[in-house]
């Protein structure tokens, strides 16, 4: 069954990029050039819109067309089976003038390479909410789906998720310009080396990994604190929603399938009845239809679950940005504190008073004052230290301000995207429900007709 997906990301002009699929085997991202104002975008499920300032998607179409199983030796020289995904790129239909042409290309990537790309992006653009990858292992499953990573349904949904990831990155005003990303899409060989050569791994701060590391920030930014709480709440509620939804799906499956027993039993019963026989038999067929219909219904619902999951994983990215901000703020405060401390020391040295306990002060008291020469050299050293400290504070301050500014820009973009996407998801969920109800009405009306003929 072909899946409909909507991937959207937006910069401030709230444009949307949607994958529309109309029966083809491949998921194709169709990007047209139609403009849409924000009000209208609320009213359209399928927007065909282009990002202003997303040069990459202006130039090329991206899709993850296929998945294939491979076997090979891994890093510890053991045989393993894994899946690779085919990434296709080709020039967009309406390429703006002056843009460099892209040639159609295909290459294969495996999941771990996507993970590497994502990690690289996270480290390189710490102020950006990096789009999430589809889950590594199937979670929140209801009984029919298997949790096996090589299961074809899982692989298919992962393929869709990977494509979604690429589209989101490609339509982001900042991320889409990244050279490593471009390389990922266009050259199969040597990409891994290129990524590692950027040395991004050195930039990874171990404090970010640790969730429990509590950085005692004196003046936390209220906006970031609020965002972190929101992100945690969202994470909790979506997890719960996905769990309950899976259980509901499981139970609904049971209800529908048990009706299939009517089919069998009516058929047997009709054999012994003269007048009632025909009516019973045909009613039984409708019951079989009813029982079978749940498979498609629930498969469509998985798409809805995937949309929710994407935002569940997005909360990790949001939390990550908040944490980075916390770290920068912390370092700024540390630098400021350090500077203040040094200034204090200088003041004491100049005035000769000891307000703060220091070893030098103590030893001076015990062993007598130091000489003028010693004093002056110490003062010079402190001045230097203070100058460095001031530089550091200035640097950290700029870093912090830049971070807050760029991060908040992306956060606003993300918020709009989230509201739009989830609103669309909820709407399509309602539409699915209506469709399910219509099927139900059809079947039971037909069954009623059959009963009438009994």
């Amino acid at each position: 069954m072909v899946r409909k997906r909507s991937a959207s990301s937006a910069d401030k002009s709230s444009n949307q990029v949607i994958m529309a699929d109309f029966g083809s085997n491949e998921e194709v991202a169709v990007i047209g050039n139609t403009d849409l104002i924000s009000a209208e975008s609320e009213n359209n499920i399928i927007n065909t819109m282009v990002e202003r300032g997303t040069p990459l998607l202006n130039k090329m179409e991206i899709n993850v067309a296929e998945a294939e199983k491979r076997t090979g030796k891994n890093t510890v020289n053991m045989q393993e089976t894994y899946t690779v995904y085919l990434i296709e790129t080709r020039p967009a239909e309406n390429v703006p003038e002056g843009g460099t042409q892209t040639i159609p290309d295909t290459l294969w990537r495996r999941y771990s390479e996507f993970e590497l790309l994502k990690t690289y992006l996270m480290v390189t653009y710490p102020y950006i909410i990096i789009p999430p990858l589809p889950e590594k292992r199937a979670e929140f499953v209801w009984h029919k789906l298997s949790s096996d990573n090589l299961d074809p349904d899982f692989v298919e949904r992962r393929r869709v998720g990977l494509e979604n990831f690429l589209l989101r990155v490609a339509s982001h005003s900042v991320l889409s310009n990244d050279k490593i990303f471009f390389h990922f899409l266009t050259e199969e060989k040597g990409w891994r080396d290129a990524v590692l050569e950027t040395g991004f791994q050195d930039k990874v701060d171990p404090r970010l990994k640790s969730l429990s590391a509590m950085l005692r920030v004196k003046n936390p930014d209220k906006r970031f604190t609020a965002l972190k709480h929101y992100s945690d709440d969202l994470n909790t509620v979506i997890s719960q929603l996905l769990r309950v939804r899976a259980r509901v799906a499981d139970r609904l499956y049971g209800v529908y399938k048990v009706h299939g027993n009517y089919g069998r039993v009516f058929s047997e019963w009709s054999a012994i009845e003269k007048e009632m026989g025909d009516g019973l038999q045909s009613a039984g067929h409708h019951m079989d239809t009813y029982a079978a219909s749940i498979d498609d219904i629930l498969e469509e619902e998985e798409h809805y679950a995937d949309q929710l999951k994407e935002y569940l994983f997005y909360t990790d990215a949001v939390r990550s940005v908040c944490k980075k901000h916390e770290l920068i703020q912390y370092e700024l405060e540390m630098a400021a504190q350090d500077l203040a401390h040094k200034k204090q020391q200088k003041e004491e040295l100049v005035t000769g008073t000891v307000r703060v306990f220091s070893l030098k002060g103590m030893t001076s008291k015990l062993f007598g004052q130091e000489s003028q020469e010693q004093r002056e050299s110490r003062l010079a050293a402190l001045d230097q230290s203070i100058r460095e400290g001031e530089e550091m504070v200035k640097e950290k301050n700029t870093e912090c301000q830049d971070f807050v500014r760029t991060a908040w820009e992306d956060i606003e973009r993300f918020k709009e995207q989230k509201d739009r996407d989830l609103r669309e998801a909820l709407t399509s969920y309602a539409i699915m429900q209506i469709s399910m109800c219509k099927k139900g009405i059809q079947v039971w009306s037909n069954a009623k007709e059959c009963f009438n003929k009994m």
Partner: protein, 418 residues
């Protein structure tokens, strides 16, 4: 006492009965085709029946006996505690002294009524009572659901009897509906002991086996066996569906509130989330009604017909016994030389009895089949209608939600049809 012309389906003869029974004894010489009314009770009302293929057994316009069973109440004595049901009767029939009666009856009283009816009409199909004991589940006799289920079944039982062309005129039904204190009448079961004797004889006779059962009764017997099995299967399926729906409902009850919880900390998304929450809550409410409907309409009906199959088997057995008794006596007549006259008389009597029993069964068989078809058809139709209703209501809420969010769905092709 009322007389009646025999309905077209019956081939003319009614049951011969014991002398101490107060049911009408109809002459066996009357034939339908002559169109003669029954002469037996002068001054009695004559009710005409015509059983046509697709109509209700009793034309609602001529229905003149209305019974309801309600108001179960706990009744405590020194020895025991039991439930009494109120039985209200409204009638225009002449044989009733009054047009309205109200009495209180317990389950045992219903059992008495039914066993009298079966005794008096061994080859008529008397609708079954709800079970005496409840095996499964944690239900006990004083559980409200159990009492309500039983009350409905007792109500249906009496209505089935009141609609039956023959049973409805039984004296013991009248006594049941009107007597203040039934215990006096219940002790009057003089027939019981003689019935016991009859039964023993019947058993002894049937051990010898029937010479030849008429073909139509063999067909009936086979049908009855199969019918019992099929009914049990359908009943089981329906119960399983109810169980699955209950479990679905349990999960739904947690699902809606989660959306509401989410709406609590969203701004723009608050309304759509609340919209979906109300959809799910509506789904929940409608599912609850679906389960109720299943438990109150389809399942009890199916269950009654499962019990019916046992009734049918018993009727077939009794008919067989009557035949066996006749055959036994007949053989004795043929083999013995002495007592020819007395034996002949007895044999004639038994032959008559057999013929009446067979005819009664044949007639009641088609009545029962019609009744069964009507009941089951109506129960299934009702269930189908309920399900359609469920989906329609759910659609209404979902559409309401969509309208609120002002969404257009050309591409999905769904809204176009709404």
């Amino acid at each position: 006492m009322s007389g009646q012309t025999v309905p077209a389906d019956f081939s003319g003869h009614m049951l011969d009965l014991d002398e101490d029974e107060d049911l009408e004894v109809f002459s066996k010489n009357i034939s339908l085709e002559d169109g003669n009314p029954m002469p037996n009770s002068p001054g009695s009302m004559v009710n005409q029946y015509r059983l046509e293929d697709d109509e209700e057994q009793q034309d609602p316009n001529t229905k003149d006996l209305f019974i309801t069973v309600d108001k179960p109440e706990s009744h405590v004595t020194a020895i025991e505690t039991f439930i009494m049901y109120r039985v209200i009767t409204k009638t225009t029939r002449g044989e009733f002294d009054s047009s309205e009666y109200e009495v209180r009856r317990r389950y045992q009283d219903f059992m008495w009524l039914r066993s009298r009816l079966e005794e008096n009409h061994p080859t008529l199909i008397v609708h079954p009572l709800p079970e005496k004991f409840v095996m499964k589940g944690m239900m006990d006799r004083f559980n409200n659901d159990f009492i309500e289920t039983r009350r409905r079944a007792l109500h249906r039982f009496l209505n089935k009897i009141s609609e039956h062309p023959i049973l409805s005129y039984s004296e013991c039904l009248k006594v049941f509906l009107t007597a203040e204190d039934l215990t006096a009448h219940r002790k009057q079961g003089a027939g019981f002991l003689s019935r016991m004797g009859e039964t023993m004889k019947a058993v002894a006779n049937s051990v010898r086996g029937l010479k030849s059962r008429p073909e139509e009764f063999t067909v009936m017997q086979e049908y009855v066996e199969d019918f019992g099995n099929k009914m049990s299967s359908v009943d089981r399926v329906a119960q399983r569906i109810a169980k699955e729906q209950r479990e679905y409902l349990d999960e739904l009850k947690q699902y809606g509130p989660t959306y509401t919880q989410w709406a609590g900390f969203e701004e723009e998304l608050g309304d759509p989330l609340k919209g979906v929450a109300s959809c799910v809550d509506r789904c929940s409410k409608e599912t609850e009604e679906q389960v109720c409907h299943l438990s109150e309409v389809l399942i009890p009906t199916l269950h009654e017909y499962v019990l019916c199959s046992e009734t049918l088997k018993a009727v077939m057995r009794r008919r067989d016994n009557i035949q066996a008794e006749f055959e036994a006596k007949n053989e004795a007549l043929i083999s013995r030389k002495a007592d020819q006259e007395t034996l002949q008389e007895e044999v004639d009597g038994l032959a008559d009895r057999l013929e009446q029993a067979n005819n009664a069964l044949k007639g009641d068989w088609s009545y029962w089949k019609n009744s069964m078809t009507t009941d089951l058809k109506s129960a299934f139709i009702s269930t189908a209608e309920k399900n359609v209703d469920y989906y329609e209501k759910y659609i209404a809420v979902a559409v309401g939600f969509l309208t609120c969010t002002h969404v257009c769905h050309d591409k999905f092709g769904v809204c176009v049809n709404i």
